[in-house]
């Protein structure tokens, strides 16, 4: 239709290369930090005998979510170990936990910022929409360019993809706090920080936890995708299953991901319910 093609491709290419060149040290530093976190998590997990770690996880689940989920966790984790996926499982767990730490660390302040300023919200909204709707595979390319191959770019791609729901729901939760509670906090002479910590955030907590839950689920959905850029773990096993058309192998690894997803999902959901139950009963 037109002779001139809009050179989006070139713009992005140029921008990424520019960033890569100019901020190399920043990216390297960031990569080192993330690498250190994952390394610490992984060596921590691996230092503990599998049964002991399983026991610890089951106890945590029992305390937070009750005996049903604890029983499910025990059986699921034993099964994972039994089919020889314990080490990939730990890799995946480290990836998921590290990414989620980053998401919470960045997502909470961003959500609070969005809630406290209409301008900030107006700026953030389209960016968040973009981040969440852009197909996840696309993030892999710049992630590799900036951070190379391995777990770090996996964490970064996961972070970008799974951050939006948390920011969104923190913003929503805080904005939904009833006006008279805010007025009460102000009338008693609360500082902004006191108002946030003692009133807004606790009242918004159920919504915040729903956001946390959603972002964890998106986080898990990136596990397999991230394995394409060398993030070792259960995703790698699935990928191998695909490459060898080995349906059994792929299914086993997929099942392990499902078990992890169910545990994390029910666990965070029960946190929200606990909070509400305390306030209601």
């Amino acid at each position: 239709m037109f002779d001139v093609r809009v050179p989006i491709r070139d713009w992005i290419e140029t921008a990424v290369r520019y960033l890569q060149r100019q901020f190399a040290t920043v990216f390297d530093g960031f990569a080192d930090v993330v690498d250190a976190i994952i390394g610490a998590l992984l060596s921590g997990f691996q230092a503990v005998p599998p049964l002991l770690l399983m026991g610890a996880i089951v106890l945590l689940v029992l305390w937070l979510a009750g005996w049903r989920l604890a029983l499910f966790s025990a059986i699921g984790l034993l099964l994972i170990d039994n089919i020889g996926l314990w080490t990939p499982f730990l890799n995946t767990l480290a990836l998921v936990v590290a990414a989620q730490l980053l998401i919470v660390l960045v997502g909470l302040p961003l959500g609070i910022l969005a809630a406290s300023s209409d301008t900030a919200e107006r700026i953030m909204r389209p960016v968040l929409d973009f981040m969440q709707t852009m197909p996840a595979f696309v993030y892999l390319i710049p992630a590799v360019m900036f951070f190379g191959i391995g777990l770090v770019p996996g964490v970064v791609a996961t972070f970008v993809f799974a951050l939006p729901p948390l920011v969104r729901l923190v913003n929503l939760g805080i904005r939904q706090v009833p006006t008279d509670l805010i007025e009460a906090a102000d009338a008693f002479g609360s500082t902004r920080w006191q108002k946030l910590v003692k009133v807004q955030f606790p009242v918004a907590m159920p919504t915040v936890l729903a956001g946390l839950n959603q972002s964890i689920m998106l986080n898990l959905s990136m596990v397999v995708i991230a394995s394409m850029i060398g993030a070792r773990g259960l995703g790698t096993e699935v990928l191998r299953g695909i490459q060898r058309i080995n349906v059994g192998q792929g299914f086993e690894a997929g099942l392990a991901v499902v078990i992890l997803a169910i545990i994390l999902d029910r666990l965070t959901a029960s946190l929200g319910k606990r909070q509400q139950r305390r306030a209601r009963e």
């Binding site: 009833p178 009460a184 008693f188 609360s190 003692k198 009242v203 306030a279």
Partner: protein, 455 residues
């Protein structure tokens, strides 16, 4: 000198810029109200609040004689316009008006929850509109006991005790003292034993007690209450009003109470300010407003409320709990009193004609006196009874009640005791519609009810 109308029978209405009171020009005067002899705790000076873009233009328009509706065309909502008030230390000051009249906005200007567009707010003579954020926080903590809200506004994730302690917590009061004071305040509102419960486990009335306790725990001088009892059902509401009156006698705060309910205003308010269309149209005691309404609006409000001249003793009397009979011995009479928790009783004969009044104390004296009769109440020790004809207008009863310390017997044409009037009942009757032949008292005005029905 000041805007108070407590001593001015003819209240001022819409202050215009050219007849502004001189109080703001001679600040030395602001702290004391010479005419009433009371200290001014909280004052508004030419206070205005306009919501929306370009509020200054809306104010200009109003100053040139424009109306609220004119300002609305500019996209501005006038909440409060040019209000000047003096609120005295220790009084219960009621802001009354229909919804949208600006009363809640005015209340929120007093502690700067809303930022005034123009004018001053003086707390103990200090203009808080000029304070920085940090200074304002200090004033809110030291001078105000927070605020009590219509929908309670207590925190769902905190227990009763932790809610009550909120104000102290933000002030940084230590954990032990905080707990002690919160327990005290919880007991003060009658919530002992409920400290560990969560708000959702409490009824509306109890939740509002938590709101009240939270304010009382802070123990600062000024208490702001925004339609505090409007969300409660009528019985609980009356109970809370009574308790507030009782509490106020003990704690003696300066209370600013917002309501749309005239009955509530008359019952609680030492003075009442009536608001209409963002302005204060009249300030005065209940009596002043009833006898000399400033304009038709106020008149419509209070139409038929002057119950004192309509009601009679029979309308407000209560059933007699117990009487002493002439032939009762002192022990019998004393037992009757104990069983009903009375400190004195009217003495009647078999025809229920009143012969006198006897107190537990005099009965005790009689029992200790070896020469006194044992088979009947000693006529020497009886006090004369205060009685009133059941057709006596309320005004006459009020006169008697203010002198007498004991209940007043109400008798019929044949002198028989039909009921008693206790002091509290008079006030209640003045503030309660519906019990009387003149049933339409407030409903007749058609205004106050509209909003009440929606609650």
């Amino acid at each position: 000198m000041t805007t108070s109308t407590a001593a001015e029978p003819s209240p001022r209405t819409h202050p215009r810029p050219d007849d502004r009171p001189s109080a703001s020009e001679c600040p030395a005067d602001a702290a004391t109200d010479a005419s009433a002899g009371k200290r001014v705790k909280l004052a508004a000076r030419d206070l205005s609040k306009v919501f929306g873009p370009r509020p200054e233009r809306a104010l200009e328009l109003l100053a040139q004689g424009g109306t609220k509706a004119d300002a609305q065309k500019l996209g501005a909502a006038v909440g409060v316009y040019d209000v000047s008030l003096d609120i005295h230390e220790g009084e219960t000051f009621v802001l009354m008006g229909l919804s949208g009249s600006g009363k809640s906005t005015l209340l929120r200007l007093l502690n700067r929850l809303h930022e005034p567009t123009a004018g001053q707010v003086l707390v103990d003579g200090l203009d808080i509109t000029r304070l920085s954020r940090r200074e304002l926080l200090a004033v809110r903590r030291e001078k105000f006991s927070g605020m009590v809200f219509q929908q309670f506004a207590i925190l769902p994730h905190r227990t009763v005790l932790d809610n009550v302690a909120y104000g102290l917590e933000v002030q940084g009061v230590g954990a032990d003292e905080r707990r002690r004071r919160a327990l005290e305040a919880t007991a003060l509102v009658g919530l002992e034993g409920w400290e560990a419960y969560y708000p959702a486990e409490l009824s509306g009335g109890m939740q509002q007690r938590v709101g009240l306790a939270r304010a009382l725990a802070v123990d600062a001088d000024i208490l702001l209450m925004d339609e505090a009892f409007s969300a409660l059902d009528p019985l609980i509401r009356r109970e809370m009003q009574d308790e507030l009156i009782e509490l106020q006698a003990r704690v003696n705060k300066t209370i600013v109470f917002v309501t749309h309910d005239l009955d509530e205003a008359l019952k609680l308010g030492d003075r009442i300010a009536i608001m209409k269309d963002a302005r204060v149209v009249q300030v005065g005691t209940a009596e002043e407003i009833l006898t000399d309404p400033a304009d038709e609006y106020v008149e419509a409000f209070i139409e038929g409320v002057d119950r004192a001249s309509v009601l009679t003793a029979a309308n407000i009397m209560q059933p007699v709990k117990e009487t002493a009979l002439l032939r009762d011995g002192p022990n019998t009479a004393r037992t009757k009193m104990r069983r009903h928790g009375l400190s004195g009783m009217l003495v009647v004969d078999r025809e229920r004609r009143v012969h006198g009044y006897v107190t537990a104390k005099s009965l005790g004296a009689q029992l200790e006196d070896p020469d006194a009769p044992r088979d009947r109440i000693d006529p020497e020790r009886m006090e004369p009874a205060v009685v009133v004809d059941m057709h006596e207008p309320l005004q006459g009863v009020i006169g008697l009640a203010s002198e007498a310390s004991k209940p007043i017997g109400v008798i019929d044409e044949r002198g028989r005791l039909r009921g008693v009037v206790v002091k509290g009942a008079i006030l209640a009757a003045l503030a309660q519609p519906g019990q009387t032949g003149n049933g339409g008292v407030v409903a007749g005005s058609g205004v106050a009810r509209e909003e009440g029905a929606g609650v």
